[in-house]
């Protein structure tokens, strides 16, 4: 059975501390001026004193039905067998079509390679060594769960089966593989 890597971000446990942002940068040598992930602390929403923040992880959603892959003229953007949306740097001409097509705006041009870059679940670095993505390992409050959703015994499968979750912009039919457990305060804002 093929793998289906997914990530679950628990907005209750996330404290927006950017440990993931920094760890990703170090692990994947992301240039200073760009980032593969940031957690935005949005708000506060609600009425005083019943306020709440929203912890919005912004990184590649690893869509099943990825608009970036669909629009890429050369096939440089592709979905790997493990479900990770990947980039073949050699085929890329840098037309920015994928960057424009991404509904989540998480693709950017790497100033060093001049090719689109984004989160790849640390495929080339940590997954290759049998480790979890840097953001998952480093998270101080264990807000992230990563794994193969096709493995019915995996932790990530259990989390998805037992906790309410949502994905962003499902109306676009992208079917993101990043799931979010909504904060118990306030409503879901997808």
């Amino acid at each position: 059975m093929t793998k289906r890597y997914v990530l679950v971000h628990d907005e209750n446990k996330c404290i927006g501390c950017q440990a993931c942002n920094v760890a990703c940068r170090s692990e994947n040598n992301v240039p200073e001026s760009v980032t593969r992930i940031q957690v935005r602390i949005e708000g506060p929403y609600g009425n005083f004193p019943h306020l709440h923040f929203k912890y919005n992880r912004v990184s590649c959603e690893q869509c099943e039905n990825a608009p970036c892959v669909k629009v890429c003229p050369t096939g440089a953007a592709y979905v790997n067998a493990d479900g990770i949306v990947s980039i073949n740097e050699k085929k890329c001409v840098g037309c920015l079509y994928c960057v424009a097509a991404c509904p989540y705006k998480v693709r950017f041009i790497n100033p060093e390679t001049r090719v689109p870059d984004k989160c790849d679940f640390c495929k080339e670095t940590r997954l290759a060594r049998g480790e979890e993505p840097a953001c998952v390992s480093v998270c101080p409050t264990q807000a992230l769960t990563f794994g193969d959703a096709n493995d019915l015994n995996s932790e990530v499968r259990k989390v998805l089966d037992t906790k309410p979750h949502y994905q962003q912009k499902v109306n676009l039919g992208t079917e993101p593989r990043v799931y979010r457990i909504p904060s118990r305060k306030g409503g879901i804002k997808a």
Binding site: K91, Y97, R114
Partner: protein
């Protein structure tokens, strides 16, 4: 909350800039001028009138190849890896609108040059007599070639629209009206371009073919206006994100560009000019130049408006 997550510059939804807008304009101009010229040719032929040396066809033979070449040059320069653009000619992902565009342009561009060479056969053979054989063959299949160019011209015209409408998260762009709008505006800028070049360089006297071209401007403008109305009315009924995007024509710099450039210069001025202007003016050079320039600027504004305002509103 303070921003503690770093720069958000890379998340700017406006990815494509004026270079793409100008490219889309150039592609539309080239395709539009070819469609108008070939259409005129067929119209004349159907009436048994001569088509040789018509100023409008000469103009199209200049605009068609020059505009598409400039457009392609801009497009290649805008790539982050311009020297590796050949990969786009070697690899085709057929779910991509751009890949289809590449195929269409790969055939369209040489054919437009052939079209031009046939129009200016004498001049070409003066400089490159060795082309005589090829041109002779081309001349024999000229009718089929024209049909093919016409079809490809339609393709290129709608392609520029589909290129943008495939961007599913931008409500203004992700609509079926956009290709139609771009085709309509391609026809209008094509005719205006043809009139402008014909008037400036090829028309020795008032020519009825200019008048004929001029006559299609009215329905084309109507279609363009209709597309714009459909676009924004459609947005208004397509959920909150799309509804929010209608602000593009009410607030900000791009609203001014829309009302002054797209609607004012692109539609109102040409239509009013051809309906209200005194007959005596209508065939003067100055009038023709002014009106066609107004249309051209209007269409250029439309491409910029669609590219920038379109990307500014994301669902």
């Amino acid at each position: 909350m303070n921003n503690i997550w770093g720069s958000m510059e890379q998340y700017d939804p406006v990815v494509w800039n004026w270079i793409i807008a100008v490219y889309l304009f150039m592609a539309g101009l080239s395709a539009g001028s070819m469609l108008v010229a070939i259409g005129l040719k067929w119209y004349k032929q159907s009436r048994g009138q001569p088509t040789e040396g018509l100023p409008v066809i000469k103009a199209a033979a200049i605009i068609g190849p020059v505009a598409i070449s400039l457009g392609m040059a801009l497009l290649v320069l805008d790539l982050t890896k311009p020297f590796e653009f050949y990969h786009i000619l070697l690899n085709y992902n057929l779910t991509s609108v751009m890949a289809w565009g590449v195929i269409a342009l790969l055939i369209y561009i040489p054919l437009v040059f052939v079209f031009a060479a046939l129009v200016f056969e004498k001049q070409v053979l003066q400089y490159a007599p060795w082309l005589a054989g090829i041109l002779k063959v081309c001349r024999q299949v000229e009718n089929s070639l024209n049909k093919l160019i016409f079809a490809l011209g339609l393709g290129v015209g709608v392609y520029t629209g589909f290129l943008l409408s495939a961007l599913i998260s931008y409500p203004i762009l992700n609509t079926a009206v956009l290709p139609a709008l771009f085709l309509a505006s391609a026809l209008s800028v094509g005719s205006a371009g043809n009139i402008l070049v014909a008037t400036l360089f090829f028309s020795k006297k008032e020519s009825d073919c200019i008048e004929q071209v001029h006559r299609i401007e009215y329905p084309v403008a109507f279609n363009e206006a209709l597309c714009l109305v459909l676009l924004f009315v459609g947005l208004n009924f397509s959920g909150p994100a799309a509804q929010a995007a209608t602000a593009a024509i009410t607030t900000g710099t791009w609203a001014s560009v829309f009302w002054i450039g797209v609607v004012g210069l692109g539609l109102v001025v040409p239509v009013l000019a051809s309906t209200l202007a005194p007959k005596a003016w209508r065939h003067t050079k100055g009038f023709l130049i002014t009106v066609s320039c107004s249309t051209i600027i209007g269409v250029l504004a439309l491409r910029h408006f669609v590219v920038y305002a379109g990307q500014s509103y994301i669902s």
